[in-house]
């Protein structure tokens, strides 16, 4: 069965520290992977998708098919990065399967 696992419910770092939010998936085909973010009192929004291979707000994520991972990374965290982050997997039918989310807290 398709599944997305985010092992950390909470990740706390200080400003300027590197950040890595972990995401592992199980899927039998070729997945499309996404990171969605929800800032405080805002709606869920797309942060980045693996097929774009771009950096958004300093965040990058590389799809590792061997390890079935799609970890989200940023070299220097900012306070405004504090939010809830969800990793999601899409099947060909546009159905998104979300992980349980990781709350990132960046302290000053």
């Amino acid at each position: 069965a398709q599944r997305v696992t985010q092992p950390e419910k909470l990740l706390s770092v200080f400003k300027g520290a590197p950040v890595e939010l972990k995401c592992n998936y199980s899927y039998s085909g070729s997945p499309e992977l996404f990171w969605y973010v929800q800032y405080s009192r805002q709606r869920l929004q797309l942060l980045l998708r693996h097929i774009s291979r771009e950096s958004i707000k300093g965040f990058t994520a590389d799809l590792n098919k061997g390890e079935t991972s799609f970890h989200l990374k940023k070299p220097f965290a900012q306070e405004e990065d504090s939010a809830m982050y969800y990793c999601a997997l899409s099947q060909l039918t546009d159905k998104l399967i979300f992980g349980t989310g990781t709350r990132l807290q960046v302290f000053p």
Binding site: K9, R43, L46, R49, Y86, T93, D94, L96, F98
Partner: protein, 114 residues
């Protein structure tokens, strides 16, 4: 552009009562989704529409949940009767047609069943 609009934003009802949620997607978006988000969990798809056709409702509990998108624009999700376990956030999202188009989410409706 207002984005995806949902109402009400909050709803408190007693168990066994009916409740309805409304969603207006972004103009031009043919695909509409309803998600359920329980506390501490990620969103889970309930139903997906392509225009007015429900193309994936496999996760919709059809004994008490129903949805419609009569004119292929706005949509209503109904629960009748509500149970305590239905307390959650109900999210609506929309996207352009096409595989893996970006989904745009509404603010959600927080339902509390007492």
């Amino acid at each position: 552009e207002a984005g995806v609009v949902q109402s009400p934003r909050y709803k408190i009802i007693e168990k066994k009562q009916p409740v309805a949620f409304w969603c207006n997607p972004i103009s031009g978006h043919n695909t509409l989704y309803w998600y359920l988000q329980n506390l501490g969990q990620g969103p889970e798809l309930l139903i997906r529409y392509e225009n007015e056709e429900a193309v994936d409702d496999s996760q919709l509990p059809k004994d008490r949940f129903s949805a419609e998108r009569l004119k292929g624009v706005d949509s209503t999700l109904k629960i009748q009767p509500a149970e305590l376990g239905d307390s959650a956030v109900y999210l609506c999202a929309s996207s352009l047609s096409g595989t893996n188009s970006e989904q745009y989410f509404g603010p959600g409706t927080r339902l509390t069943v007492t």
